[in-house]
Each structure stands twice: as structure tokens, then as C-alpha cells.
Symmetry: C2
Amino acid sequence: MTSYDSISTSPGIERRALLARSCERCRTRPFALCKPLSVKQIHTLSPLFFPLPSKKHLYYEGSHITETYTLCEGWLLLYRVLQNGKRHIVWIALPGDVLGARPAYYHPVRHAAMTLTACAFCGFPHLTETACRYPELALRIAALYAETMALQRDYLTFIAQRNATERVAFLALDLYRRLRRRGLACGNRMPFPLTQEDIADTLGITAVHVNRVLHRLSREGLLVIKHHELTILDYQRLCEFVDSEEITPSD
Amino acid sequence: MTSYDSISTSPGIERRALLARSCERCRTRPFALCKPLSVKQIHTLSPLFFPLPSKKHLYYEGSHITETYTLCEGWLLLYRVLQNGKRHIVWIALPGDVLGARPAYYHPVRHAAMTLTACAFCGFPHLTETACRYPELALRIAALYAETMALQRDYLTFIAQRNATERVAFLALDLYRRLRRRGLACGNRMPFPLTQEDIADTLGITAVHVNRVLHRLSREGLLVIKHHELTILDYQRLCEFVDSEEITPSD
DNA sequence: CGTAAAGTTGAATTCTTTCAAACACGGTGG
DNA sequence: CCACCGTGTTTGAAAGAATTCAACTTTACG
């Protein structure tokens, strides 16, 4: 494992945090955790806003974190490392996603969180009692979990039932759609900070095979990933390819 | 697709339901949705208790269901059918599991629910407003979702990163542990109503290969599935083989 | 007791991995 | 400015895992 520097979740660590005061202008709020609360209500929870550079850990697997985080800016990977040394990326977080979900606040997290790009976070103290003060918030968490779970099931379905080409197409399409829904894609292009190895570790295939499959997809005129940018070449056909399997690009 | 008879979720359908009045004696309640509520509080939600025979649908993919269900007895499969006709089982529900999770009550469910054995359910009207009345309930839902999501991620990890033998071993072990935690396994044995094809459709392998792998696992002295019963032959070695940390439930 | 569903087995095929080596690119230091 | 280095990408060939197809046996159930 590469040993990246990281902030710690233990108290007292320097981390240029500041009370989030600019919720009115926050571009993430419309689809984030705090959506159902007024700015005034949000401030009673004293959220801390702080940045984190690229390739740093927000927390490690097994940490007892004391906050629930909203990813406000940047890309972040949730992953675990298996006994055999393989890394599995369980979730690719985009702005608006909630981090640190677990059954109870006293449970350790079951995955590590590492920034892929420079990021910014909003951290709330864990929400057990506060959620009782704001039941809308508890419902909002439940709704976001349900949404995430549904999407996670889509990944499960694709990884379980589809071949490598379809999996890669699905991943690209999902990221594009999630980003566009949040106003972060521009036209048919979007930033794409994942390496081929990251894709491989997400979809359960090898980086070598991801490479071959990406060539196939661009040869077929569906999508291109180049210079950390993803371009959707034919959205219509890509959708058809992903949720039916009419078009099987052969060799 | 086999065309099983089913109850419909539309109103007016005969379904021998009765107001659940015996919550005091309910064996499922200690780990179910309603756990944090008093019997009195539960009854203000007028839950309906009803049975359903084996191989019937509780709801279909795309249904607009109006209730949240707790599975009180029996086994149930959540599955979807892909365009290519393949079936993917996204979740094997055991007593205590919550069914019908979705981001908002007006969303259709993204999967079908079919009983594998005779089942019994407890149905609550959807919980949007009631959860505000009982914030503990909203938190409880969030906690159960988080727990389910964590387990779902384990499945994702296994299906993405492990070979067929390890996947089957993992599935068997997970079902055994979940059942045991709820007091439904007896010693090293438990009822096992899944067919080899069900296992295959859960883990993304073929039934033929599941068969070969099961023989391998029994030849290795790890587990045996026979006559709808699973026997753990060597729990210790099976755990080592599967090598997943024991998951502590949110009690 | 007979039929349908589920399980079993072998052989050929397909998809993916593994191993190995080479190339491209961006950043650093001399 | 260029050589150097590391990370990430590319390509080929061989090995391995799982699928497919097909036939057969066993089990469950009315």
C-alpha cells in the first residue's frame, strides 16, 4: 500500500476548518444531506467546512469517526483492502454524497476514504440526537441511504451479471449521469480523474483488461477516456448498450 | 419467466390480514424496524399482519407500493430480471428484514419480491409522516439501511473480487450467521430453501458451476448442502476460507 | 407412479487473467 | 534544457476460470 499522508480523525489535529457560514451560496446543498433544513437550523448543528488535498485520507478503515461528512467538492474513493492485497473500491463519491454511513455512530467504518482530487467537506457531529431534534433530517438520511443502496444494487447487478465491456460502459454512464444531474458535466464531456486501475478495482476486472475494453468502446464510437477526461461519443447508443445488450461490440 | 400467482398491492384484494395485536409475543420485533417503539406506539401505526404461501409475489418490480413491510417469518427473494432474460437476486431476505426501501414513498420499487417459503409479514403504511411523529423510527430505518448497505457492500466485494468457490462459501456463511443471530439456526445446521440456480443468480455464476463448486466445498470438509439443509462442517476453517470479519449488528 | 424440476457430469468454447515487456507522459533535479 | 524516474498505459502470448451445450440421473410432488 502506498503510504499517503492523511489527516487524522482524532481531535486536536490541525485541519484548516471553519464554521460553514455560507450555506446560502453552497452549490451542494440543493441535493445534500442538509437540504431539508433552513440555514438557521443548519447552523445550530455547527457544521465544519474544510478542504483536503488530492490523494489524502479522510479516514481509514476501522476508524471511529465522530462526524458525518458531506462531500462538497471533488472526487473521493471509498475502498477496502482484502486479505489477498487486492483493493476493492466500494463507492466513488461525487459532490453531494454523504460519507461515513454506518448502523450506529459507535461502529467503526468498514472502508477507507481517500480523495482522488482536491476536495472540500462539510462535517456534522454525528446525528443521533440532532436527528430527533430535526426528524426531517433523519428521514433525509434514510432517503439518501435508500438512494445510494438502489444505485449500489445496480452496481451489484452489473458486476454479477454483465461482462467487462458492459461493466465499464455502465460505470462511465453512471458517473456521467450523476455528475450531470448535479450540474458538473459540460455537454458530453466531464472530468475523469480515475485511472484504469481505479476502474478495474471498482468493477472487479484487471487493469489490463480495462485497457482492452476501453479501446473496444472507443472503436465502437461509444465513449473515449483520454487526458483525464471522459467524452460520451453517442449517448443514445451507450444507453442502449448499457441497459439492453443488443449491440455487442465484437473485437 | 414462470408465472406465479401473487397477491396484488392494489387495494381490495383478499389477503387474510389482521391488525397485528400480538407484538408482545413477536419473535421478530427484537431486531425489526419497530424495535424502538412501545407496543402502544406500534399500534398507533395500525400495522397489518398477513401470511403468504411459498412462491408468491409480495410485489413486482415497478410497483407503487403503499406500505413498508417487515418480514416476520420465512425466506424471501428480492430480484430483478435483466433485458437478456437473466435473473439477478439482489437480496435474500430473512426474518426481521425491512422490505420496500426506496428514496421516497412515491418511487416505484426497483425489484420484485417473491416468497421462497411460506412467509408472514407486518405491513406499515409508509412512514413519511409517522416517522416525524416517532423520530426514533426514522433513525431506526436509517440504521437498518446502513446495516443492509454495509452487508450489500460485502456482497459487492465478494462478487467483484473473489472466485466462485469463495463466493458460494461466503453466501452460505452469511446466511448461517444472519440466521443464527436471529436464533433460527440450530447448531451447525439450518434450513436452506435455495436451489443451486438461486445461488447462481445471487452470485453471478452459472448453476452448473455452483454445482461443481458445492462438491468441492463438501469434499474439502467445509460445508454440505443437501435435502434443503445446510450443514457447516468446519466453522473455523470456513471463516478462514471466507476471511470476512464478523459483522456486528446494530443490536 | 409418472412427470417436472433440480441436480450431475463431460467436453468444447469463451472470456478474463497472468506474465512480460515496451511505451508515453509529467514532473524533478542537475 | 535535457536526462531521468515513476506512474500509468499499451500490446502479445499462454494459462486459467467459468460458461455453454448436451445428455443423463435423481428428487420432489400431485
